[in-house]
């Protein structure tokens, strides 16, 4: 192999801007502009989950069923189709919740997710406790924290009774920070 021919070096001194260097800089600037313009839609696309949340698209009123499905003084598992869902969600769009009918039209609707780390809590009517299988969180029948690592009581959905039907405002996974669709409640914290 022969040596590659020597490429003509830019011999101009640093102080003065050669024609070639100017064009390189303009080229870079144009590339930068193109990248910036392209970045805007990409960024918007990427943060779409946040934008949709800010527009309040993550909660909707849905019906859980007629009042007669929930006997007074009992806590029952109810399931609903998550209102914020797309076709490919499959089984994950079925969401459970615990409905406690205190009396009359007074309810408490608890999220299934433990306030500690989201595992599904189970209701034990005999002892009147919700127990979590993951890290041992336990709650009383009114959802307040009884023992274990949860930092607060169970998350609650906002509910209303319309035309003899129990409705809740649901849609998003309740965590300590995403409780927008859930009733503000801190009974567990205060105890």
């Amino acid at each position: 192999m022969s040596e590659p021919p020597e490429i003509a070096k830019d011999t101009s001194s640093g102080a003065e801007l050669s024609r070639r260097a100017l064009f390189t800089k303009i080229g870079l600037l144009l590339n930068g502009l193109a990248v910036a313009v392209l970045a805007m839609p990409i960024l918007g696309y990427l943060v779409s989950p946040i934008l949709r949340s800010d527009r309040g698209q993550y909660k909707r009123w849905i019906t859980l069923g007629g009042l007669d499905e929930f006997p007074e003084g009992q806590t029952r598992l109810a399931t609903f189709q998550n209102p914020i869902s797309i076709g490919s969600d499959g089984d994950t769009s079925h969401i459970p919740c615990w409905v406690r009918r205190i009396h009359g039209e007074q309810f408490q609707v608890f999220a299934i997710n433990c306030a500690h780390l989201g595992c599904p809590v189970r209701w034990f009517p005999q002892s009147g406790l919700f127990m979590c299988p993951c890290h041992g969180g336990v709650y009383y029948q009114d959802g307040s924290r009884a023992s274990g690592p949860p930092p607060r009581g169970l998350f609650e959905y906002q509910y209303k009774v319309e035309d003899g039907k129990l409705m809740i405002e649901a849609g998003q996974l309740p965590t300590l920070s995403t409780t927008a669709s859930l009733a503000a409640r801190s009974r567990g914290c205060q105890s």
């Binding site: 499959g90 989201g118 849609g171 920070s177």
Partner: protein, 494 residues
């Protein structure tokens, strides 16, 4: 033969990489470094290759949609010839990869290989470790079974504890308001495109640095690393006592890598693939989510951390650990490499290994979780019911029926969330027992609202019988004295 050589020459004339390859293969390594201790890095690389190949093969049949993922895994397991085996190899390969990467870190740390001039190699290695763990977690999620669903269910609340931007972070992680199809899609993207792409880039850099800077020499006590002299000393060592990597050292790497591949295939053939463990249907609440093996230690820590420390630990802990790992070569870039002269390094490593092993072991039987069906599944041993009064047996019924067993073991079965109660009467008096049952406390819920007075009386009378025959039940001395005083003197009674 000559035809083959012709083709080779034709290619070489254009590519001109033969020299570079020969140079890389025959780069000298210190003779004492051609040891079995130095085979883990190449083993990790081999497993990575295996994961890439099996991963691509699995992608031929896997359907990354929440509604179909489970079905496609069943199809892989039962419909595709040897699909189960490839799933098993990929799953076991993942476990072996995490293990080998962690093991690889140990000698590197103990032999001071992260010191000057190999700091960047170590830092890249830290990123490779994080990416390996990221692959393990996202891979588990792609199974999209019950455990995957609730694994995400745990990941989201942890993310949600980030201050200020917690909600946004959760929505970004899940790709929407809740664990659903969009969540699987983005974790699929991470597992199949993003992290592997980064891994390939970082592994290449990591390897390039090993070639450029040379493998770490066998650490000798007293041979101290100094920035000014190290490279000269290392080159002298190579000249004096170096062997070419091929064929001087590579055979050990090859033998070990082959052994690992065989071990992965053996595990895959014997134990089979992981899951799928059940439909990712959250309405099936009769489930006990468990993370994969390499995240069990985390599960244990999440259960055992005091609640008030939890958020701080979850958010600051990783920053501290990763920060320490990244800063390590800059904090101690020079000095002794031999472990005999670095007691703190040895103790640190032992502490980490023992802690992780202990947490992992604990998490395999998670004593902090109530056993959800102990009350209905584990009958009380007959010994606790023999020669008891009807009231005491009624108490035993209350004990069983009110789910006390879910947290309290009796006769070795039942939950371990609370203490075993086989001999509770030797430590708690009647009054203590009543108070504990009604008010709870010490991590026990209060049962005052859920037991009527008759049930409490029966339960406590049963609990009072729980002491070994040769040890009397606990007795409140002051209470006994008061009762003695209150009793009218026998003489006056007459």
């Amino acid at each position: 033969m000559s035809k083959l050589k012709q083709i080779g020459d034709w290619l070489e004339e254009r590519l001109q990489i033969g020299g570079a390859i020969r140079e890389a293969a025959s780069h000298p390594v210190p003779r004492k470094s051609a040891r079995w201790w130095y085979v883990f890095g190449s083993a990790a690389l081999t497993i990575f290759g295996l994961q890439v190949v099996t991963g691509i093969l699995l992608a031929l049949a896997y359907d990354p949609s929440a509604s179909e993922a489970g079905n496609s895994l069943q199809y892989l397991n039962h419909g595709v010839t040897l699909g189960w085996f490839l799933r098993a190899v990929h799953g076991w390969g993942s476990n072996f990869m995490v293990a080998v990467v962690l093991i690889h870190m140990c000698p590197v740390f103990l032999f001071g290989a992260y010191k000057f001039p190999r700091q960047l190699t170590w830092v890249l290695g830290v990123f490779l470790l994080l990416m390996t763990l990221g692959m393990a977690f996202t891979g588990q999620v792609l199974r999209f079974d019950q455990d995957a669903y609730w694994g995400l269910g745990i990941g989201a609340p942890i993310t949600g504890r980030v201050p200020l931007i917690g909600a946004q972070a959760v929505h970004m992680l899940l790709g929407g308001p809740i664990i659903a199809g969009a969540t699987l899609s983005r974790l699929f993207t991470l597992h199949v495109f993003l992290i592997p792409g980064l891994l390939i880039g970082f592994v290449s850099l990591h390897l390039l640095l090993v070639l450029k800077l040379g493998i770490n020499e066998w650490p000798m006590p007293g041979r101290v690393v100094r920035r000014s002299t190290y490279e000269k000393e290392y080159n002298e060592l190579l000249q004096k006592d170096g062997v070419p990597f091929v064929p001087g050292a590579i055979w050990k790497d090859m033998v070990f890598s082959d052994g690992i591949i065989v071990a992965i295939m053996a595990c895959a053939a014997y134990f089979g693939p992981f899951g799928p463990s059940g439909y990712p249907d959250p309405t099936i609440v009769q489930t006990i989510p468990k993370p994969d093996f390499f995240f069990l230690w985390l599960d244990a820590m999440l259960a055992l951390l005091p609640p008030e420390m939890e958020t701080a630990s979850l958010l600051i802990g990783p920053v501290v650990v990763i920060g320490f790992l990244i800063l390590l070569p800059f904090l101690s870039g020079e000095g002794e490499k031999n472990w005999r002269r670095r007691p703190i390094a040895v103790v640190t490593l032992l502490l980490v290994v023992v802690s992780l092993a202990t947490f992992t072991k604990l998490a395999t039987y998670s004593p902090w979780s109530p056993i959800m069906d102990a009350w209905s599944g584990d009958p009380l041993p007959v010994a606790f019911l023999n020669r008891r009064t009807p009231l005491q047996r009624q108490g035993a019924l209350v004990f069983q029926g009110k789910q006390c067993r879910n947290c309290h073991a009796m006769g070795g079965s039942g939950g371990r969330r609370g203490p075993a109660l086989d001999s509770v009467a030797t430590t708690l008096t009647t009054d203590h027992l009543v108070r504990q049952v009604i008010q709870g406390g010490g991590n026990m819920p209060a049962y005052g609202k859920n037991l009527n007075p008759a049930e409490v009386t029966a339960l406590v009378s049963f609990l009072e019988t729980l002491h070994p025959p040769n040890r009397p039940p606990a007795r409140d001395a002051s209470q006994a004295a008061i009762q003695q005083q209150e009793k009218p003197p026998p003489a006056a009674n007459r």
